[in-house]
Symmetry: C2
Subunit: 342 residues, 2 copies
DNA sequence: TTGTAAGCGTTATCAA
DNA sequence: TTGATAACGCTTACAA
């Protein structure tokens, strides 16, 4: 509405009679000015309604305080909640976030990374599984991956193995006749594959009858629904009089399964036990609150930024320590018992 | 891994024998160079492995191609999906997004806006209802609001009035004895208040018996659940033998209500009809697919960027047109009939 | 079609 | 404790 031109250090300098340098110091090392002069500059700042311009600062100092985020999408609760928690670290670490949703297309994500680099981002957090960590590492910028393949980059992951152990253990306690783990076809390099190993190890250790159903459950809700419906038919045919303990890949799928059972029986039948993964909102909001292996998303988000910020700060030092080996932080899951298990 | 120092236009200029200006022109107006020289520069670029640095460009040109987004949170589907769709406009408009989740605290959001301004963002999209549009307008940057008070800023909103009309119309068709609209206490300035007016107008026009229940339903799932449970008790007491047609504030609340009924009756009872608002994923993933007044989120996101980009481009012109009156775009909702209405 | 030179708003270096 | 001056990497008149 009012002033067209922006107020700069030069204006403040002219107004106060100091040099631009002194004005700069007021911001970056105020103790090096006398209190009196600090006050003079402070007054000028308000008198002229100075607004800081970080672009000049970036150019001169090379520090953008930008962190790039590549996320597969935001319609899955897991990702949106993770992004939410990462954004919240702004209060702690002060880094701003440039966010791209890559939709798991490698070339698209590559383009986004180029773009991020052009803005001199200081680091990246990668949730998308698409681009191999070897390539990410070659960009020569601190990178932290979350729940993705992480051989050549630092990462924060849920202890998926323990999650599988917890799930199998819970089903064991509820006297199931047969334990079933339903999941997609997960590559061994993905942290999520640990869930399967944890589940199997417990079943083997305690000689529990179990079955692994590793099959693509589809990418849309309709596909999920149809395939899980088929699964239910299959299980009821194969184990008609048995109590079935099901550990399913995530809470969204658990919800689909639960709804199918409810529609069929009007309640959650005694012949089933069910446990999901993630502790997504849907697990609480389902027709019956669903048991789940909970990921500690706020903890994961904070650890990721802690590691990243450590690496970014290291780089800014006059004589940075040589880049260390990638750090891999494992966060334990929290078993959440609700109404779909005894 | 390799080069420490970055390659700049000066390096390209030295390598090719051209000036920095010519190199710059290669990027911004390539046709002004001979094809031969274009090739020379292109070769140098790859030979030296040049990576663009947009910070210099921003400083010199004043154009950041940044758009700031202030969003209340990401755990509500509506917001995360809207953000998803806004991010997707990058492919069309090329603007990058700096995202903050403000959690509806006015002073926090103000701080974020200051921060955004310091990075010379060219425009803002505001989803948060917290800061009055009069204040947003005073920042002197193009602003588009979405589903919030918008007197002094441009905006894109769902046609909430029509949504209320559609909901009441659908309930009317299914022969309900009493129509009930459940909503929070919405200020008249919020676009969402139109839903109430649309609902009431139809009821009045067709002389349908109706009741308005405008009460705070709480901010957490547990609060929602308790208050909606009380609501059900109330309704069953007040209208024991009547067919109740309920239009409720949003799909999350509709889901809570639906689950309560299912737990009570083992199915969706004939004495109810139910319609929500938004077309959130939960409306499809509920125990019974739920009817809803659908918001066209991708359309809204695109319109918002269209309006914003128009205003931003206008500002860049040599002689910008005087800032016009705020534009208010209304997007019709789409009635989605599923299994909770006849 | 190409070049010169002056910025853009800070910070960094060296001197005073 | 303060200041002059030179970057930072690019764009943009204006000239040639």
């Amino acid at each position: 509405m009012k002033s067209k031109k922006k107020v700069t250090f030069a204006d403040i300098a002219a107004y106060t009679g100091f040099s631009k340098t002194t004005v700069s110091r007021y911001f970056n090392d105020p103790d090096s000015l006398t209190l009196e002069n600090q006050q003079k500059i402070a007054d000028a700042l308000t008198a002229l309604d100075y607004k800081e311009n970080k672009v000049g600062r970036i150019l001169a100092s090379g520090r953008t305080e930008f962190v790039g985020i590549i996320i597969p999408n935001l319609y899955m609760h897991y990702y949106s909640e993770m992004l939410n928690q990462i954004l919240a670290t702004y209060e702690t670490y002060g880094y701003k976030f440039l966010v791209f949703a890559g939709n798991e297309k490698a070339d698209v994500e590559r383009k986004y990374i180029e773009e991020l680099l052009a803005y001199n981002i200081e680091g990246m957090i990668i949730l998308s599984p698409t681009i191999p960590s070897s390539e990410l590492a070659s960009y020569n910028v601190p990178v932290v991956g979350i729940e993705r393949e992480d051989q050549y980059i630092s990462s924060v992951n849920t202890d998926n193995y323990m999650g599988g152990v917890q799930a199998a253990g819970l089903l064991q306690k509820s006297d199931c006749d047969i334990l079933i783990h339903v999941n997609g076809k997960i590559p061994d390099t993905s942290p999520a594959s640990g869930r399967i190993r944890g589940f199997v190890d417990i079943c083997e250790e305690y000689h529990l009858p179990y079955e692994l159903i590793l099959t693509d459950l589809g990418n849309t809700f309709e596909e999920n629904r149809e395939r899980i419906s088929n699964l239910v038919d299959l299980l009821e045919e194969k184990y008609p009089d048995k109590k079935k303990g099901i550990f399913i890949a995530n809470d969204t799928h658990a919800n689909v399964l639960l709804n199918l059972l409810f529609q069929k029986y009007g309640r959650f039948p005694d012949s089933y036990q069910l446990i999901g993964f993630d502790n997504s909102p849907i697990s609480r909001e389902a027709v019956i609150p669903t048991s789940t292996v909970g990921q500690q998303i706020p903890v994961i988000a904070n650890e990721a930024m802690k590691i990243l910020s450590g690496q970014m700060e290291e780089r800014k030092k006059r004589r940075p320590a040589p880049p260390k080996e990638p750090v891999h932080k494992i966060i334990p899951p929290i078993l959440i018992r609700r109404e779909t298990t005894a």
